[in-house]
Amino acid sequence: EMASTSRPSVSASAMSYLLLVMVRDYHEKGEAGRAQLETMGAQLGARLAERYTKDRARFTTHTEVVLWTCKEFWQETFGKRVDNLKTNNRGVYVLTDVAFEWMSGLRPFGGDTEETSWALMMGYAESYGSFAGGVVRGALESLGLRCAVIAEPTCGAVTSGAEEFKPLGCKFTVRLAAGLGFGGVA
């Protein structure tokens, strides 16, 4: 169980079905839908970050914010810590999840061939990515880091046959806007 017993919970299924129907609905609208998913995500991310940092001392560096996001925020929101964090030390961070919880139910579906089924699945995954990318952006921005976030779903090579399906991962590229505050500390 992720949630502590003292805090109200809902079933993971309920959350999963809510996400599924939301993403599916807006996915149908193409690019406009992705933008709307990103917006919803940003609102959600901002509110979550506010809640999670309520009783916490203020952050003083960008790095602190990013590290907190990779650990506490990711754990509360996506069920685990980020698997990998890289930076070029010039305002770009890459956060990678090898298996992304919110996409864990996605499977190839619907196409006439294996390729088209995978393509359909990846299309959905990108919409999940738009939403999740928004969540990350909203969280970071509410903590003082103006940024752009691109989320790219990742999958293992397409394999045919009965090999066990590997859940989708997700790579988040965060670009901090130039000239940020934080008292000049990078």
């Binding site: 109200p8 809902v10 993971a12 299924s13 599916r24």
Partner: protein, 214 residues
Amino acid sequence: RERARAARAATMAARSTRVGGRNPELAGQAAWVATEKVNAELFTLTYGALVRQVLHDCEDRVFEANKKLDEMGHAMGCRLIEDFLAKTNARKCLSFKESAETVALVGFKMFLNLECSLENWNDDETRCDVRFEHLDPFVAFVEVPDRYKSGDDEQSKLKYCQVLCGAARGALESVGVRTECHFVKDALVGDPSEGFVMRLEFTENVEDEYPFED
């Protein structure tokens, strides 16, 4: 450990719906204990973001937004029915009353930890009220702006929790029962002291057809 406890609870859930002397409350409780959980706040805030976006998409046309929320709920209900049947090993319901109890006392409990009671049944047991102790997963810390609460017309009021009605309707439809479902008491837009009461009414049986959506 955790898995063994969950497995025992799942067995309890399966038994209590199967064996004679149905006890849906027990089945609901057991299924809730057995299920994997997440922080309710995550659900509440995600749902809030959705409602806000839907209102924006509908340009504040509340009637449309309510319909959209109902449709989304319906889609959820159709999808989760297989999950539900698998987890609870529920047997076929022999009456609308049993169906209603299964949705409210088992379904709402195991997915959302909602406590409710069914009351105010009509004589032929085709209509009842579902009274909720609370709807916190949807409404905790939510305040509906006045512009969505006003107007004499019920249709101009935001039906914030309509997703739940849609879900009940979708799930029941998936097992062959068409219903009408809406809140008759909604503390968010009406009198807070009256709480949340959902009216559930049988309309007709669905013709025998493959019950599950693709």
